[in-house]
């Protein structure tokens, strides 16, 4: 497919444009830091975005392998899920690659009638967005589960150790099963 070939050729441009559109959702000082600090341990957020995008672009071009897509999207969504964004904001970056592809290849798409190919590409992006939504929900559920576990551990375990309740192990295993 022609569009896929074009996208492969301009892979770096796509990643850069996508990265830029994502870091623009942060204040100016922050986006400069996310962009310029290349050390993956000094700038783990920017690094996670860049590394993830490299894999995801390949998925968009070559077709979605569910497991690989989850592995690539997870570090990005996991960060966005605890940065205080609305759910829609947290995963909106997936959709922004549609606009970027249309902008970068507008001439080629028009002149070579690549609309059908574009539709295929965009359907892959839609699939990615649904995967991102799943990950987002999993992360939020995890945060609430962690909160609940802390409360449970603090009270139940302390009471059990202090010998103030009986049959607690049964209660705990029931709770674990229900989780």
């Amino acid at each position: 497919m022609k569009l896929e070939k074009l996208m492969k050729e301009r892979n770096a441009d796509l990643i850069n444009a996508w990265f830029t559109s994502l870091i623009e959702t942060y204040p100016a000082n922050t986006s400069a830091f996310l962009k310029n600090q290349k050390d993956p341990f000094a700038n783990p957020v920017g690094n996670a975005f860049r590394q993830g995008f490299k894999v995801i672009i390949d998925q968009i071009v070559e077709g979605i392998d569910h497991q690989s897509a989850v592995s690539a999207l997870d570090p990005i969504v996991r960060i966005r899920a605890v940065q205080g964004f609305l759910p829609s904001q947290a995963v909106s970056f997936v959709f922004s690659i549609k606009k970027i592809i249309r902008q970068i290849f507008s001439k080629e798409i028009r002149e070579n009638h690549l609309e059908d190919e574009l539709t295929t590409i965009e359907m892959r992006i839609d699939e990615l967005s649904l995967i991102a939504f799943n990950i987002y929900m999993e992360c939020r559920e995890k945060v609430f589960q962690l909160k609940a576990n802390e409360v449970r551990d603090r009270t139940f375990k302390a009471l059990r150790r202090a010998g103030l309740v009986c049959d607690l192990e049964q209660v705990e295993s029931d709770l674990t099963e229900h989780n």
């Binding site: 204040p27 993956p40 904001q89 995890k142």
Partner: protein, 542 residues
């Protein structure tokens, strides 16, 4: 996050663009998941701290005293006079930005007001306006601004998004300690009754029972008894610790968190096993105390006076029991209080001896003033002199990395001793990248009293830089155990690992010491302190 958006508002918000206004003109939005609940007024009353009342950070009216501005200015003035460092830190910052991207909360949240320079500037701008000539005359041109209710709320939100870890200060060319600015800001909040409950209630407990959890002496003893049974069940040796023993050689004080919460409990059991060994082999007499039953000191996150009140029990109990010196457990901020403040704050402890290990003869010169030795140093010295009979193969199932706790690494320079201990009790050890350990260690994200449940989003994103480095060694070397020497780390890092790096557990170093230690008269060891089969014993039901 904003609730109850209309559809058109939602669409407008899907592609967020951050505010384009300058920081002074961008008021803070207090978001759920990022702040801790307000203090329970009863706890504030117990401590006789001012302006106890119920209030809610999400409500418009914080029920402040009418003269709150006056209280803030007077509080600032007193602290500028009293603390030379604070005055200096207010004046000398040139806003070079070296600290800006070094804070785990900035790196994680991406919120510029979490840049240490800007967080300090939130307070410094008000200082300029009212305490400097340039600020009074030139106002905003000189970086000065009026103190308003929005400014106060902004202070509260962001100074409770600083864990006082001091990573930023490592990079400051002037050595400005932003943690001290946070400490001062929190003191001022306490003048207004604006503490958080995760700090206020533990200190109220500690003031009455000696520990943050409010464990009374009999319950504390019950916990130790529970550990004794547990240790016997797992390793076949019944330890006989001393509690409140007058005339013991050494008083041992450790954070109460380790007595009640996993995996700290295994560290506490580790201490009991080590002391049993030292008693059997060398006749060393160590005692626990049910009164000095807390090493941690959340008073440190409240005010200097509160810190002093909670710390006083350490020397008082050492005097009552007539010990020679004090040994302290694996804790973080406890050691900053001891190392930096205790000697002059509640000392001099001239009734204690300068600490010397009765087993090796090593003189702990660094503890000459405080008379209190960190157990990592004590154990490292025992190992160095060949005084512990160790079988590290019992920890062969562990691939370990070490998280330097902020306060022990940056606050007292304890870098090599814990590593020396770890390398002698287990064979598989890998360091995290150099810009994430030792003096440059990343905070767990939940220190300085921010390890509550309601601020879980903040804890997770603040803990991300640390977790990211753990993830790296987990993927590269198969690391499955994160060792640390801090009770708050042991409480919060398992949660952080669960979110960011599943498959990595957390341990204190004395849990590993106890598992490796060969005890006199021990039966065949088949389980570790967690009750898990030892390597090679997986099929053994014994």
């Amino acid at each position: 996050m904003t609730d109850d958006l209309k559809p058109h508002e939602l669409i407008a918000n899907i592609q967020p663009r951050p505010p384009q206004t300058g920081w002074m003109n961008t008021p803070a939005v207090i978001r759920k998941g990022m702040f801790c609940y307000a203090s329970n007024p009863k706890s504030v009353e117990i401590l006789k701290l001012p302006n106890a009342r119920g209030w809610n950070p999400l409500e418009e009216d914080w029920k402040l005293p009418k003269n709150w501005k006056e209280i803030v200015f007077e509080g600032l003035r007193q602290r500028l006079d009293r603390f030379r460092t604070f005055k200096l830190f207010m004046d000398i910052c040139v806003r070079c930005g070296a600290c800006a991207d070094k804070c785990h909360f900035f790196i994680g949240t991406g919120d510029p007001k979490n840049m240490p320079v800007l967080r300090a500037e939130l307070l410094r701008s008000v200082y300029r306006k009212d305490f400097t000539a340039a600020g009074k005359i030139f106002g905003t041109l000189a970086g000065a601004r009026e103190l308003t209710l929005d400014v106060l709320k902004e202070w509260w939100y962001y100074f409770f998004q600083c864990t006082e870890c001091r990573r930023c200060s490592v990079f400051c060319p002037y050595g400005i300690d932003t943690a001290e600015i946070t400490i001062m800001a929190r003191e001022i909040f306490n003048l207004l009754g604006l503490n958080i409950d995760w700090i206020a209630t533990p200190i109220a407990n500690c003031y009455r029972t000696g520990n943050h959890l409010g464990i009374q002496p009999h319950a504390f003893k019950d916990m130790i008894d529970f550990f004794i049974d547990d240790i016997e069940e797992k390793i076949g040796i019944r330890v006989e610790p001393n509690i409140n023993k007058k005339g013991a050689d050494i008083l041992f004080i450790t954070p109460s968190g380790d007595v009640f919460a996993d995996p700290g409990t295994y560290t506490a059991m580790g201490y009991l096993v080590l002391f049993h060994y030292l008693k059997e082999k060398y006749g060393l007499d160590v005692t626990w105390s049910t009164y000095a039953s807390e090493g941690g000191n959340f008073g440190f996150f409240t005010s200097h006076e509160t810190m002093k009140r909670l710390n006083a029990k350490m020397y008082a109990e050492a005097k009552r029991l007539g010990v020679k010196w004090i040994l302290g457990g694996e804790c973080g901020h406890m050691w900053r209080v001891i190392h930096q403040y205790m000697g002059t704050m509640n000392g001099p402890a001239d009734f204690l001896e300068e600490p010397v290990s009765p087993i090796t003869g090593t003189k702990f010169d660094n503890a000459k003033s405080t008379k209190m030795v960190h157990i990592a140093e004590f154990t490292a010295d025992l190992i160095k002199h060949g005084k512990l009979d160790l079988d590290p193969s019992r920890n062969d199932n562990l691939i370990v990395t070490f998280h330097d706790s902020c306060n022990t690494s940056r606050g007292m320079g304890l870098l090599e001793e814990p590593r020396y201990v770890i390398k002698n009790v287990c064979k598989n050890f890998y360091e995290m990248p150099s810009n994430t350990i030792r003096e440059q260690t990343f905070c767990c994200g939940s220190g300085s009293g921010l390890n509550a449940g309601e601020n879980m989003d903040l804890r997770m994103i603040g803990g991300f830089p640390r977790a990211n480095a753990v993830k790296y060694v987990h993927e590269k070397h198969g690391v499955n155990m994160l060792a640390c020497i801090c009770a708050i780390d042991r409480a919060v890092l398992p949660v952080s690992m669960d979110y960011w790096v599943p498959g990595v557990n957390v341990t204190g170093i004395h849990e590993m010491v106890a598992n490796a230690l060969n005890l006199p008269g021990q039966p065949k060891r088949t389980k570790n302190l967690r009750g898990e089969p030892l390597p090679g014993m997986e099929g053994d039901d014994e």
